[in-house]
């Protein structure tokens, strides 16, 4: 958490407010939003940026919320302090939902004063200003959004130098665009200083909370992790919110992974669909590549058959699910932790999969590398579970550390080893007692290297078999392998405050929960302990956490309590201690929602009157 900002005059709120910007999709608003976000970041103030966009390319309403928080809270805040209406169509609605006392910035042609006399109003003649600072009529609509940045700069004291440098960074290499935007930025700031007397309480002041931090989307962070994890084959089929992951990866690989002759040390293939994308992984992982695809829920549904093949034929590959709101096509541009169950138990028959769950970009970077290792160590598909909020929103994160350890490729027999063994080995034999067999890689030049890979019943020697004892012993070995994975996957992050009550959760709910816990403790005098699950299978520490608490609320972003179901299914004796706190309207979680549900449930359950 950052140090507290300078104490200020009464009625002034420093470095603790959110700006909600309403624009039309495709109007170039992203540059303006990012410039504002970056400038705040560069001023050392903790920030986050959340995009709320339509599943459409142009014209529909889009919102971007920037939260500045001196205390370092970067979760979504339900109520906005400043609302910027750059979209006349949604202005009335945007303003109607504003909290009392909110600051409203809008085009002066909109008559909003009467509508919300309880708010602070800053009408701005945007059309007039843009005409004055942008002579070219055709270009005006591309830069008009930059005007609101200038207005905010003057009103809240956001440093013009930082804004300019942020603009340079955001539009790096596009000097024309910079030259176009800069006058709008400066012109509107100067106009505001002259014409809009300050009537609100919000101010930005320099802090020093962002030392060693970066701003990044989870998808870019994951892509970097994969590149440094030595990924070689990448396949994908476009789907929001996962597309940018493979697009970033493609960009990074082409930039940093060409050999001295300019040849690619990787392959990125846009497949014809998700079945093919994952089919390519089955082939690539089998043939020895560290391979990866990313998708979202609908793609996971399509991939199911081959995921089962990967599990049963024991082929390493990594799938990142950047989840969106489902079922069906659902809300493609909204978030959900909706695929917990469908990843853990993907495909028919007895299947269970390793799932790694990062909660922020740095962890995404690290777990992406882990996923590639674990897939090869356990010779099985491994999932990375993100969601739209992590994948596509802008997060402040610690700078990433260069990987200290070499990669792990698991139990692979070389030609030399085969020679020593006299060519005697069994592809599915449990030699080490951990359920993980040895494999050979196609192309290994030894007459006994080859084996027959199939999704049908097989013996330890990889020969076809329908015998009950062969089937059962193989399934038991696979179960043992999954058990072994418990000791390898990342442990949960447990925070204890000596409470009898716990919150258990995973992924992107973390920030809101941390903030909620702070509020519960300081405002409501209630202590809670935390267990952030980072992987499936659940490790013993997860069980211990539930064992050591009287009651545990499982907080998650879905209707059915999928994480709670999974924990209840895996460790049935814990089920009676678990209750759900759920949030499933497509929006990221806010601290307020957690506090509210927690207090309601504690009121009922905590007083010894369980539901």
């Amino acid at each position: 958490m950052g140090t507290a900002a300078t104490a200020d005059a009464v009625g002034t709120i420093v470095n603790d407010f959110s700006i909600h910007v309403a624009t039309a999709n495709g109007s170039g608003s992203q540059t303006s939003n990012m410039v504002l976000l970056r400038a705040l970041f560069q001023m050392g103030v903790p920030v986050s940026g959340k995009n709320l966009f339509p599943s459409n390319i142009q014209g529909l309403p889009t919102w971007f919320t920037i939260r500045a928080s001196k205390d370092g809270w970067i979760a979504r805040k339900e109520e906005s302090d400043v609302i910027v209406c750059m979209n006349a169509e949604t202005a009335e609605e945007d303003v109607a939902t504003a909290r009392k006392g909110a600051v409203l910035i809008y085009d002066d042609s909109l008559r909003l004063q009467e509508k919300r006399p309880d708010c602070v109003h800053y009408p701005v003649p945007f059309k007039k200003l843009i005409a004055e600072c942008c002579p070219d009529l055709k270009l005006r609509k591309l830069v008009i959004n930059m005007l609101y940045v200038g207005v905010c700069s003057a009103l809240f004291g956001i440093d013009m130098g930082e804004l300019k440098s942020a603009l340079g960074k955001q539009l790096a290499g596009k000097q024309k665009a910079i030259d176009l935007n800069l006058p709008a930025l400066e012109y509107s700031a100067n106009w505001t200083k002259e014409h809009l007397p300050k009537k609100d309480a919000f101010r930005v002041e320099r802090m020093n909370a962002n030392e060693g931090k970066i701003i990044i989307e989870g998808n870019a962070a994951t892509a970097l992790g994969l590149m440094f994890g030595g990924v070689t084959v990448v396949t994908w089929y476009p789907i929001t919110p996962s597309s940018s992951l493979c697009e970033y990866l493609d960009e990074y690989l082409n930039r940093f992974r060409l050999d001295k002759d300019g040849k690619r040390t990787f392959a990125v293939v846009q497949a014809e669909d998700e079945i093919s994308a994952v089919g390519m992984l089955a082939g690539a992982g089998w043939a020895g590549a560290r391979c990866f695809t990313s998708t979202s829920g609908p793609g996971i549904s399509l991939m199911n058959e081959i995921i089962g093949l990967g599990y049963f034929a024991e082929i390493p590959f990594v799938i990142c699910d950047v989840a969106r709101t489902g079922p069906s096509t659902g809300l493609p541009t909204r978030t959900m932790q909706g695929d917990i169950y469908s990843l853990m138990y993907a495909s028919h028959g007895d299947t269970k999969h390793i799932v790694l769950i990062p909660s922020e970009p740095k962890e995404s970077f690290e777990l992406a590398q882990e996923a590639l290792d674990i897939a090869e160590e356990f010779q099985t598909p491994v999932f990375l579970m993100l969601d739209l909020d992590l994948g596509m929103n802008y997060w402040m994160a610690k700078r990433f550390d260069y990987p200290a350890a070499p990669i792990h490729r698991g139990k692979v027999l070389t030609k030399e080893q085969l020679q020593e063994m006299g060519g005697k080995w069994g592809r599915y034999q449990d030699v080490d007692g951990d359920g993980v067999p040895y494999r050979t890689i196609p192309g290994t030049e030894h007459p006994a290297a080859a084996y027959f890979t199939r999704g049908t019943g097989h013996t330890a020697q990889a020969t076809y078999s329908e015998k009950p004892e062969h089937w059962k012993s193989n399934m038991d070995r696979l179960a043992k392998k999954f058990e072994s994975a418990k000791k390898r996957v990342p442990k949960p992050v447990v925070t204890s405050d000596g409470s009898k009550v716990g919150l258990l959760f995973c992924g992107t709910t973390t920030e809101a929960i941390n903030e909620a816990v702070h509020e519960l403790k300081h405002k409501h005098k209630v202590k809670v302990d935390l267990c952030r699950v980072r992987a499936f299978p659940f490790t013993s520490e997860v069980e211990d956490f539930v064992d050591h608490h009287e009651r545990v609320y499982v907080v998650e972003l879905n209707r059915d309590g999928q994480l709670r179901m999974a924990l209840s299914a895996e460790v049935p004796r814990l089920a009676h201690k678990l209750r759900s706190i759920l949030h499933y309207d497509g929006m990221p979680l806010s601290a307020g929602a957690v506090v509210k549900q927690f207090r309601e449930l504690e009121g009922a359950w905590g007083k010894g009157t369980p539901e």
């Binding site: 960074k169 050999d259 293939v269 089919g279 390519m280 082939g283 590549a289 093949l309 990433f400 260069y402």
Partner: protein, 350 residues
């Protein structure tokens, strides 16, 4: 050896150019119905691989699901093999070739596996030009699920218990030609001589060679009224050419007398010779190939031979500008950029 059981008896002690006997190309014993066309193809694949002296360790065998897709178990046990899921062999093969571009792929599929459930993957595979032989063992039915029609069943063809197919068939050769495949052949499992030559040429060809091999299902589609039965195909087969194969290691080798034959370079130094039989058909003409296929369909003729062939084109790894070494074994020094790279990216983001 993991994966294989006993090999069928070897025909002789002779060895090929890399010192391997025929039995080194054998697989486990076939469990298909006795007389199944698929077994004939398996036998010819063994012959061709032996004749060509393919190194088994450099070959991978890929398949989907079906009686046909089981056959990779019955040849070349010293080669890695992947019997995947129904209709998805093309994507699995694509992934394998990306991981290790030096491997020669022999893919075996069925008409159901390719023309029904897997038609999408087939179509997209044709566009990629992997270095592979793609064989469809075409019997017009789903053998493994007991005789339902597949999408290659001819209009008017009768099922074993009397149902008649009323829909137009999908001509996989025409599709392959249309999609830019540079080696397209239609063969008959019963035509040993043509298969032996064509299979060698296909294996030697650099790029995707597609072979639609009519392979009767003796159990479910060998009755009167079927257009994919042994008797029907024997009666209706019309060979387009005499096919000759001139291996790279022996450019003087000619199976037939030189005449008005066409020579096609296969990309590895070997050549295929084509001597037209009773027509002036030019298999290097894609449009002509499509026309010929359309006409033969109307005349209910079964033309076998090379339908379309062109000099080999860049394969998928070449199109992707990949390094020559297999991606699967690149060292970490190549696949993990240095610390300076991470620092550079972090600076950009801070």
């Amino acid at each position: 050896m993991a994966g294989a059981t006993e090999a069928p008896e070897a025909p002789s002690n002779q060895v090929n150019r890399i010192g391997l006997q025929k039995k080194d190309y054998a697989g486990s014993k076939s469990t298909l119905c006795i007389g199944c066309g698929h077994d004939l193809i398996t036998a010819r694949l063994i012959d061709a691989a032996y004749d060509l002296s393919l190194k088994p360790e450099n070959v991978i065998k890929m398949s989907g699901i079906g009686c046909s897709s089981k056959t990779p178990a019955y040849f070349m046990s010293r080669s890695f093999s992947f019997n995947s899921v129904h209709g998805r062999m093309p994507s699995v093969a694509t992934g394998a070739s990306l991981a290790n571009r030096s491997l020669k792929i022999i893919g075996v599929s069925g008409d159901g596996d390719t023309a029904n459930i897997g038609i999408g993957q087939f179509v997209h595979l044709m566009r990629r030009n992997l270095d592979m032989v793609y064989i469809v063992e075409n019997n017009g039915v789903y053998g493994l699920t007991k005789g339902q029609f597949s999408a290659t069943a001819d209009k008017g063809s009768k099922q074993k218990y009397g149902n008649v197919n009323f829909m137009s068939p999908i001509d996989l050769c025409a599709l392959a030609v249309e999609l830019g495949c540079n080696f397209v052949a239609r063969l008959f499992a019963g035509n040993t001589k043509m298969m032996r030559q064509a299979l060698q040429a296909a294996m030697a060809f650099k790029g995707t060679a597609f072979l639609d091999i009519i392979s009767p299902c003796v159990t479910f589609n060998n009755h009167a009224g079927s257009t994919k039965s042994f008797p029907y195909v024997k009666d209706h087969e019309t060979a387009l050419q005499d096919i000759g194969f001139v291996p790279a290691y022996d450019p003087t080798y000619h199976e037939m007398a030189a005449g008005e034959e066409r020579e096609v370079k296969l990309g590895d130094g070997s050549k295929m010779t084509l001597k037209a039989l009773g027509n002036d058909y030019n298999p290097t003409d894609r449009v002509g190939a499509l026309k010929m296929l359309a006409e033969s369909r109307e005349q209910q003729k079964l033309l076998t031979g090379i339908i379309c062939v062109a000099e080999s084109q860049p394969t998928f790894p070449q199109m992707l500008n990949m390094v020559h070494e297999p991606l699967s074994t690149l060292p970490l020094s190549v696949t993990r950029p240095g610390k300076a790279v991470l620092d550079e990216v972090m600076d950009e983001l801070s």
